[in-house]
């Protein structure tokens, strides 16, 4: 088809969804991922809110999260001085949840950073290498994806023990496969893009090409994966702690709080609901950010005609 130099955006170009079309009998053309600047905005707002709250908490005049008071066990929310009630040792639930934010968010982001780094490195390496190395790496990624993360995490924890860094390391070690898989696919495509081909043909060294061309092009994808990986990490940490195999038992993480709440479901449901709610908000924020970023990169891609 003859294409003039400036394409007057012909009728087949997808245009952004605006007002809903008048009622039709039936239209095809299925759903786009719920996304858009609104989603991104909400996600970011939630995330920022959470982080702020977590950081600001110690400055607020709240009860000490570690302070036990056996005379005030299992008080329901609304008791003076305890907005969200107290737990089985009389500790203030609200301050424990806020203190848990620092822990959980901290572990989540550290693990995510580790996992994304490993994932990107392996993904790019796999896409860039040839023959046996690529086979080995892709098989490794495949195995990583199909192996249950919890099994690996539990076994590693058995060795590495508890503690912030240990847990972050463990979780980081189990979350890299999906990132690697996506990055691998993207990089394969990028490798054949004209500007990368040009660099390769000019004899630019692989490392330089990767650093200057591939990594920046991967950024939108990596951002999206980072958001979703963070959500996964939050859930994984809480899962591990729930099993008693995550954060050290005394620490106020959300997962530990959930674990402790288990015996008191009937008598003090707020012990479970507060940390559960916090986890939901954090994961929701991360997912929304991921969705928003996905939609944004898709729109950008369409505009550039990729």
């Amino acid at each position: 088809m003859s294409t003039p130099a400036i394409t007057p955006a012909g009728p087949d170009v997808e245009t952004p969804e605006v007002a809903p079309a008048p009622r039709r009998m039936f239209r095809f053309g299925g759903a786009r991922r719920g996304g858009g600047p609104v989603t991104l905005g909400i996600g970011v707002a939630l995330a920022l809110g959470l982080v702020t709250v977590a950081l600001v908490a110690p400055l607020l005049n709240l009860a000490d999260p570690m302070q036990t008071d056996l005379t005030r066990r299992l008080n329901p929310p609304g008791t003076p001085g305890h907005l969200l009630g107290t737990d089985q040792l009389g500790r203030d639930v609200l301050s424990r949840v806020l203190a848990g934010a620092r822990w959980s968010l901290g572990i989540g982001s550290t693990a995510m950073l580790l996992g994304v780094t490993i994932g990107v490195s392996l993904g790019v390496a796999a896409a860039w290498s040839r023959s046996w190395l690529r086979t080995v790496l892709t098989r490794a990624i495949d195995i990583g994806i199909s192996f249950p993360y919890l099994v690996t995490a539990i076994t590693v924890v058995a060795v590495v023990g508890r503690g912030f860094w240990a847990l972050a390391l463990t979780l980081g070690l189990v979350c890299w496969p999906p990132v690697a898989r996506v990055v691998y696919a993207e990089t394969l495509g990028l490798r054949e893009r004209e500007y990368v081909l040009a660099a390769r043909l000019m004899g630019v060294r692989a490392v330089s090409t990767v650093a200057n061309h591939v990594l920046p092009a991967l950024r939108p994808t990596v951002q999206v994966m980072a958001a979703f990986t963070f959500a996964e990490m939050m859930i994984s940490e809480s899962g591990l702690s729930f099993l008693g195999l995550g954060a050290p038992l005394g620490e106020p993480t959300w997962g530990n709080a959930l674990s402790e709440s288990r015996s008191y479901l009937a008598t003090a449901p707020w012990m479970m609901l507060a940390p559960a709610g916090a986890i939901v908000i954090a994961v929701l924020a991360a997912n929304l950010i991921g969705d928003g970023l996905t939609a944004r990169s898709r729109r950008r891609g369409e505009r550039l005609g990729s």
Partner: protein, 319 residues
């Protein structure tokens, strides 16, 4: 050429949302298609020709706003009831698309896809449907059609696939067949064959061929509609048009076909590019690229009169 009207389009306009506004890609297009007609809609990409075709079947994209009156076999494709639309699509009217590979379901055999269409519209039993499908495949020149029924689209060559698509379109003997760039994705040698199929496989129905290639139009059709920037700029019997094109754009199109005459420069493109926002501004849309433009052209939009929309239609034959 019969006189029964198969499809009529009156003042069709199609617009897409662009930010807070609408971008019109088809404006004021009117067309009458009669039984037995072979009409070509010729234009470059962005001229709106595909949208015209899609509006005839009511399959324009979700976000498009379609205005004007379209009637195909008595049915309004934009506003018909589900039952009417079912009768329209695949039965009264059918469409053949450009890329047969992506236009066929990759996980179903072509036999299944063809049979589905027949049984939906003609209420035939399985055996009878199969007979009809084989007939259609034969009509489009697919060799050994019975063996092809169990085959998947990716197992066929491009030419065969397109034949299958045409077969699917003519299965129910539509009154109107719209073919959108049916040969663009094919090799030149296959093109000729497919055009032959289109010419002969249609019985008494009408053919609306959408293409950017005048040569293709000349092969198959008897009359042509030239579109530019969403509007019809010239229309008429094709032999006349090729010999004496009156609109400067049409002249430019014909002249732009490369020749091998050493006395002439080999490439004579039309200077400039189509407007990005054809619905903005007044006056003739082609004014900026026209060699014969006058002030009147810029001030007032010429209406379609006597088959051409131009204030200064050229009368001399093309050199």
């Amino acid at each position: 050429m019969g006189t029964e009207v198969v499809a009529s389009v009156t003042d069709l306009s199609v617009a897409f949302p662009a930010g807070a506004d609408w971008r019109t890609v088809v404006r004021g297009v009117s067309l009458t298609v009669r039984r037995g007609d072979r009409i070509a809609i010729v234009g470059e990409s962005g001229s709106g020709k595909t949208m015209v075709g899609m509006s005839l079947l009511g399959i324009s994209p979700e976000q498009a706003r379609v205005r004007g009156q379209v009637l195909v076999d008595g049915i309004d494709p934009q506003r018909g009831s589900p039952a009417q639309l079912r009768r329209l699509r695949g039965d009264a009217a059918a469409m053949v698309f450009q890329d047969p590979l992506t236009s066929l379901n990759p996980v179903r055999t072509i036999g299944a896809q063809l049979t589905e269409s027949v049984r939906r519209h003609q209420r035939l039993g399985r055996a009878q449907a199969r007979v009809r499908v084989l007939e259609a495949l034969h009509a489009v020149g697919v060799p050994a059609p019975a063996e092809r029924l169990g085959v998947y689209p990716h197992q066929l060559s491009g030419g065969l696939r397109q034949r299958v698509m045409i077969a699917m379109a003519i299965l129910n003997r539509p009154a109107l067949l719209v073919a959108d760039e049916p040969t663009t994705a094919l090799d030149a040698t296959i093109q000729a064959q497919i055009l032959g199929v289109l010419r002969s496989g249609l019985d008494a129905g009408a053919l609306l061929l959408i293409t950017h290639d005048l040569a293709v139009a000349a092969e198959v059709c008897t009359s042509v509609v030239v579109m530019y920037a969403g509007q019809i700029v010239e229309q008429g019997p094709i032999a006349e048009l090729l010999r004496r094109p009156r609109h400067p754009y049409t002249r430019g199109l014909i002249a732009a076909v490369p020749t091998f005459d050493p006395a002439r420069p080999s490439l004579r493109p039309i200077p400039g590019t189509p407007p990005t926002r054809p619905d903005l501004g007044v006056g003739c849309r082609f004014a900026d690229r026209c060699a014969y433009v006058s002030q009147q052209c810029r001030d007032t939009e010429p209406a379609l009169a006597d088959g051409v929309a131009c204030w200064h239609p050229r009368e001399e034959a093309l050199r």
